[in-house]
Symmetry: C2
Subunit: 379 residues, 2 copies
Amino acid sequence: MDSAALIVREKEPLNVESPACVLDSFLTPNDLFFIRNHFPIPRLNPESYRLRVDGAVADPLRISYEELRAMPSRTSTVTLECAGNGRSFLQPRKSGVPWELGAIGTAEWTGVPLAHLLRRAGVDDGAVAVFVEGADRGEPTNDPKPDGEIAFARTLPIEKAQEPDVLLAYRMNARDLTPEHGFPVRAIVPGYYGMASVKWITHIEVLREWPRGYWETSEYSYWDAAEGRPIVRPLDKIRVKSAIVRPRMHEIVRPNMGYRVTGAAWSGTSEIAKVELSVDGGETWNVARLLDASRRYAWRRWEYEWRTPAQSRMCVLLSRARDSTGATQPDHHDANYGSYAINYTLPVEVFVRSSMRSSGIRTESISGRVENLVGETLL
Amino acid sequence: MDSAALIVREKEPLNVESPACVLDSFLTPNDLFFIRNHFPIPRLNPESYRLRVDGAVADPLRISYEELRAMPSRTSTVTLECAGNGRSFLQPRKSGVPWELGAIGTAEWTGVPLAHLLRRAGVDDGAVAVFVEGADRGEPTNDPKPDGEIAFARTLPIEKAQEPDVLLAYRMNARDLTPEHGFPVRAIVPGYYGMASVKWITHIEVLREWPRGYWETSEYSYWDAAEGRPIVRPLDKIRVKSAIVRPRMHEIVRPNMGYRVTGAAWSGTSEIAKVELSVDGGETWNVARLLDASRRYAWRRWEYEWRTPAQSRMCVLLSRARDSTGATQPDHHDANYGSYAINYTLPVEVFVRSSMRSSGIRTESISGRVENLVGETLL
């Protein structure tokens, strides 16, 4: 994990994002895949590793790494997006890891369906949830927080946990997981934000009621105001979103030329139906061409042939995706999601100029940090 | 509410604490009673005022102020303590209103038992909780928080709501409530921290399940680690506590004299069984004399005759209360309570000196802010 192309956002615990160019590749190379940790990376020994499955089950299980790898496996292509992806663009600034565009990636994950283990253990009729716990432990950071160390964990509705694509994965793009990505075994929960895909899983507990733990209330939660009074709920499905990969923020392009705008679009448990691009700040919209076949849990790349204006000027580009349920990206961030689920249409300012020499643009701005420039734009 | 003796901790919303000397009086005068607001004080018109009682009931009610005052009433003597009382002494400093000793007071409250209205409305068999909402609205301050304005509200377990001492009060020490204290009608929930005694009540809703609102998770919550994994719970009962009123922090007392140490002690739904005083930083403990008769929901004042040392020195005084359930004040703040329920034994440093002239104590320290001095002491 020493690829120079990765962008370190936090060193302890290690939080690293991909360069935005990974969105131009359908499968993200393992060594360019973003890494999101809450605590120090645990180093587990595959010989002594055991996965416990207990709680509201008929026959609790205790499974070794070798036993798991001998079980029937499945490979799924799944896009994982961190719930805080794009946080650095929020105005005003929010605390949390300052991700830009690259806390997202797509890989082929191989592992044992969680449903297989749940069937073997025999889930009780009254079960409502499955608690999935990692081996990573530490003191949480968001208030309100419990005292002392806790393990990273996440709870899935029992129906979701029993879907065939929810995996206990041990391979990523045909290679064994590395410690950074959850060796020996991690969850892959397709369609949910990345926090559900718990790494270093050592314990799965079937529950008869929903927990009210730190990871369901203080962190990775949102406010559901639909029923009159807002109630706190754990984050789950990835919301429909697209990103412009090319041009980059404040890129300079030549006038009156063909320019291929590229990007990607995704939506948690739905498929991308349409991507539109605006080159005039949202006044008018043009349909972009979708490149990849539609798959339920993977992003689709798109492109749009832009004829740049004949005159020097600044253009504001926006992309907007719609999914098969009709959900469309909003214009603004929904404050009920705090610093998560950031899926509003993000403006990309581009300078149309015949040459650098005549641009009058301060070049130090162009080499500045993208989020600062975007920040100015949004003010 | 312009008493010069009150100490303003926050102006908008208004948050005001009592001088510590109120703990020396069994009943707290209305104009010295602490005021805790979350939002601007609503000014309600008693003519148009209506209290709605609905939700899981057979017959929803809509009651005027006049009708409420015509119902059978009850008067209870109840100590209210703000859940953040003593917060300013915490090390490291915590955000929130920086209360010292005086976010507490005792009054005789007159009103209609909530149980009376619940009986009239006819509570459904499946009801588990009663949601009590005030007319005050605003944007909450703690993360995670919902977007926009919400009303202050609090939820009581159905059993608690049906206790005869839980009142919809309209009088405080025989006077009609003032706007600052909840005119026209406020809850009095004996034994619970003050946040449960919702002011300006306009809506009561009987619920079939516990809500997961802002006031049950982000603010006025604590972490219950008893069942293995910490879960967030709404604060409820006042924890056993005592305070030393005299001497004050860094007071100078004469050697070899009789000195009457005074204070108060209280515990939510239990009675105070014993108060002990240490004059040697907790090495040895002496039983203090309890002054007031024991009442379930009111504090008890206490005193202890201290023979000061013959030699000049610094003494650390500590008081420690025990209640009828055997619960005793802890030595340290429980971090699972965040910046609430601060009931550890708080050291009071006292200088024994024959005269100021020979004390060698910087007098500017003595006139400094108490919490700074206590802060240094605790480091």
